[in-house]
Subunit: 173 residues, 2 copies
């Protein structure tokens, strides 16, 4: 991945939505967007048609394991914590332990972190989904992870847009 | 990729058939096979169900670009040269130039080499197939490449088996 220090402020905002450098650069180039809807349409096209499989893996590797905290303290890590708040609030100690074990099994089989749009899901739901997806062929799980990544990206683009709207109230446009 | 120097002779034979370390190790563990048919069945299961997407990329990266010679002089490079012999015999200078340009375009879009089971195909056929596949989404092309890799692997397993049979004639079993 390109060093984040050489990226523009706009690119870094999009990188926090989806950790593929190519995605961030293409979104920054296509911006500004008149609305969230246009941003999401562009994001879907870039993610599924332009970012290659190495870019998908790059984006997946930017996620902390479900139930684990990221060591980073950037926007992406903060959003990730928020998205997992239901899971963390509903987890028992042994539940988190089981989730950690299955996460590790998953990573060993597929070579990337178990990716799920965790927002609003309990830890039991996440664990059951992980067990359901585990027997899949690697290529199927790769596509599932990319679909989940897109859901996460959409939520984060919405947050990015709402932050921007607060920063520039409509009366001052 | 694990250093080839730590691999067994059997693992190296399978690595020449398909450049994924995991594939080579699993095949060596499952061997010996009573016939080529059983070896191919095992290979298909390992390649599509056990090797993860990083392993697919590792195998793809072991191929020279179509029309280019590998810098390596190992079994895989020799077989590759044989598989491309029709393409090289039918190519004109400008044909090879165009193939090189499209290969480079393909690699830039998808992040891995254009993979096709070249055996018996003319350079014009290969170029036309490259142009047909180029507009595909990255994930579709990733699967196409994996299917082509499997065809190459099957041809190479057949060569490996015929070499072994020559080395140990049936009368001496």
């Amino acid at each position: 991945m390109e060093a984040e220090s050489t990226m523009s402020a706009s690119e870094l905002e999009y990188l926090a939505c989806c950790g593929s450098t190519k995605f961030a650069k293409e979104m920054a180039m296509a911006s500004p967007f008149p609305s969230l809807k246009e941003a999401i349409t562009a994001a879907r096209d870039i993610w599924f048609n332009k970012v290659d499989v190495n870019g998908w893996l790059e984006a997946f590797s930017a996620h902390p394991q479900i139930g684990e905290r990221s060591r980073k303290v950037d926007t992406s890590a903060q959003w990730s914590k928020g998205e997992q708040s239901t899971a963390l609030a509903t987890a028992t100690g042994s539940g988190l332990q089981e989730l950690a074990e299955w996460n590790s099994k998953y990573r060993q089989k597929f070579g990337f972190v178990f990716l799920i749009c965790a927002s609003g899901r309990s830890s039991a739901e996440i664990l059951s989904e992980l067990k359901r997806r585990y027997p899949n062929r690697p290529i199927i799980e790769f596509e599932n992870a990319a679909q989940e990544q897109m859901k996460v990206t959409e939520l984060r683009l919405a947050k990015l847009f709402s932050t921007k709207e607060k920063a520039v109230p409509s009366g001052e446009h």
